[in-house]
């Protein structure tokens, strides 16, 4: 039986963590993810979980503690945002190269500076090639569902990679919305017990983890990480299918909304997708064939699959919720256009930087993107700004 509730994205994430009941949670508070370890520490205090809660002195230590715990054979989790993630950066790479399926809640916020506590994806984008699986969530429901699926994906024997579940700071993390929750027992059953193949506290098979790895084998080990990332695609789909059987909620690598006959397509991630869906429904009543691709799985990137869905589009707009300072396009734009090129999909494609530092993303802005797409001429300036004040 599912439980009808109303929760913020942070509350939903904390409840997912309570139901997961990990062995170790190590975290340092940072807005807007602070509430997650805050609520979770209450569960620890009340005895609702038997987790070892490590109140570390920094995010670097939070990730280090998770690495130590996970290497020992425990299930470890953390939560952070923006500069907290940047401060962990060194250990983020080590977690994935040691093949430790740590799960992190990343509440997306603009990286300083100047100081800004509001949402954009610059934090996630700065670790996009760190070897972590990255799932994005439109709503509190998706943040919760992705978290429930996270360990099954990360801990799968063909994967063994850390995983982060992203959601937009404040927009979903602090907004109360309807949600359907699992019963605790159902989560327990779905996730199962963590049985790592190799771990430090296994007296029968003593091993060393994270040793020096020079010319002889580092390359091969990186190739193995690549294989694991490749395997993750199938595992994500399998776990999502099993999840759908339980809940009726369907998750794939990306969501297609009104894409069957779409001529004008927006690609985006997280909370903006809901706003785009509203605009699509309105434009469709005017006869505009508008569609949306919402990325759920950003790493591993489903480039080939996305390129295929864009084959019959007339024009595509890729929305990057991050400042684009390289003059070659945002991360999502680069990934998709590169996949389109290698898949021989040639459709005029433009890129918008938008929603920076919590700039509100309105239906009017999204509608203007579809209007731009309808009048787009090939090779027109692909690099644009949406919702930027020009006066």
């Amino acid at each position: 039986m599912s439980i009808r509730e109303r929760l913020s994205g942070n509350e939903a994430t904390a409840i997912a963590m309570k139901q997961i009941n990990p062995d170790v949670v190590a975290a340092f508070p940072i807005t807007p993810s602070t509430e997650i370890p805050q609520y979770f520490s209450t569960y620890v205090d009340n005895g609702e979980v038997d987790t070892e809660f490590v109140a570390v002195e920094s995010e670097h230590s939070a990730m280090s503690a998770c690495i130590g715990a996970e290497a020992a054979g425990a299930r470890a989790m953390t939560a952070t945002s923006a500069n907290g993630l940047e401060y962990m950066w060194e250990m983020v790479q080590i977690a994935s190269s040691m093949r430790l399926p740590i799960v992190m809640a990343l509440v997306n916020r603009a990286i300083s500076g100047p100081l800004n506590i509001h949402s954009d994806h610059s934090d996630a984008m700065a670790v996009r090639d760190s070897g972590w699986i990255m799932l994005f969530s439109e709503t509190n429901q998706e943040a919760y569902d992705n978290m429930i699926m996270a360990h099954r994906i990360a801990e799968h024997k063909d994967v063994n990679l850390p995983l982060m579940v992203c959601q937009d700071g404040f927009i979903t993390s602090h907004s109360i919305e309807n949600i359907e929750l699992f019963e605790d027992e159902e989560v327990k059953k779905f996730i199962g017990t963590y049985k790592p193949e190799h771990y430090l506290l296994n007296r029968k098979n003593p091993i060393s983890m994270g040793p020096m790895d020079l010319q002889a084998y580092l390359f091969e080990h990186k190739r193995q990480q690549w294989e694991a990332m490749k395997n993750a695609k199938k595992v994500i789909l399998d776990v999502s299918e099993e999840f759908e059987k339980l809940t009726g909620r369907k998750y794939e690598l990306f969501e297609e909304y009104k894409m069957e006959d779409a001529e004008y397509v927006i690609v985006c991630m997280n909370s903006t997708a809901g706003t785009v869906k509203n605009v699509i429904d309105r434009l469709r009543t005017e006869g505009v064939k508008a569609g949306l691709i919402k990325i759920r799985v950003f790493r591993p990137f489903p480039g080939e699959e996305i390129a295929k869905t864009l084959l019959h589009a007339k024009a595509v707009a890729i929305l990057d919720k991050t400042p684009i300072l390289n003059l070659t396009g945002g991360p999502l734009f680069e990934d998709i256009t590169s996949a389109m090129y290698t898949s021989n999909v040639t459709v005029p494609t433009i890129n918008y930087s938008y929603g920076i530092g919590g700039r509100d993303v309105t239906e009017m802005q999204i509608e203007s993107v579809y209007r731009d797409l309808q009048t787009l001429k090939n090779n027109e300036n692909p690099y644009r700004f949406l919702g930027l004040k020009t006066k």
Binding site: H118, D168, F170, H174, S175, T275
Partner: protein, 193 residues
């Protein structure tokens, strides 16, 4: 009630507008609706103008932006009338509810020609009478429920009993006062335009 109503709250930091918007979301949720309740976070300071929002709908809510064309506006502090454009985008078939002791002739010039309904309530008097302290958010919450008719008064009162029991589990002595504030506010909110 319409299929979707959108509400904007104007208050000052510390007056509880955010809490009121979350309690309103709670109450509407308990009637089976789809809801959103979220504050627009800025640099949070006591006394600084702040905004919070609600959406209440009969169908799932997908939009994730602030509310620009509210059906209702709640003004928790009447000094905001001259500081903030409280009627911006407010629908003419909607209403504005203001915590004030002033009459319509004094308020009207501050509403920039707004032609829709105007309600007032003296939340200070109610709060001080019921709670002995000035917490305007509880009377304002009752006022918006009354004006929007999202649920019958009796259901709302019953629902708030549960909410307050939960919210004030560590200071149960304020529950009765808050319930009293709600009951008075439901009676005292009045249409002045």
């Amino acid at each position: 009630m319409k299929d979707l109503i959108e509400i904007r709250w104007h208050g000052r930091g510390g007056q509880g507008a955010k809490t009121a918007s979350l309690l309103l979301a709670d109450a509407a949720f308990n009637t089976g609706k789809y809801i959103q309740g979220f504050p627009e976070y800025g640099p949070e300071r006591m006394g600084a103008p702040m905004t919070a929002y609600n959406r209440i709908s009969t169908t799932p809510i997908r939009v994730h932006s602030n509310v620009y064309n509210p059906d209702y506006v709640v003004v928790v502090d009447d000094t905001l009338l001259s500081a903030v454009d409280v009627t911006a985008g407010l629908k003419e078939d909607g209403a504005i509810i203001i915590n004030t002791t002033k009459g319509i002739e004094e308020i009207k010039p501050l509403l920039k020609g707004y032609k829709g309904s105007v309600y007032t309530i003296d939340a200070r008097k109610i709060s001080e009478e019921a709670l002995g302290k000035y917490f305007p958010n509880t009377p304002m919450l009752a006022a918006i429920v009354k004006v929007t008719e999202i649920m019958p008064d009796a259901d709302f009162v019953e629902d708030m009993k549960g909410s307050f029991k939960h919210k004030f589990s560590k200071k149960p002595e304020v529950i009765d006062g808050n319930m009293k504030a709600i009951e008075i506010a439901l009676k005292e909110v009045k249409k002045v335009q």
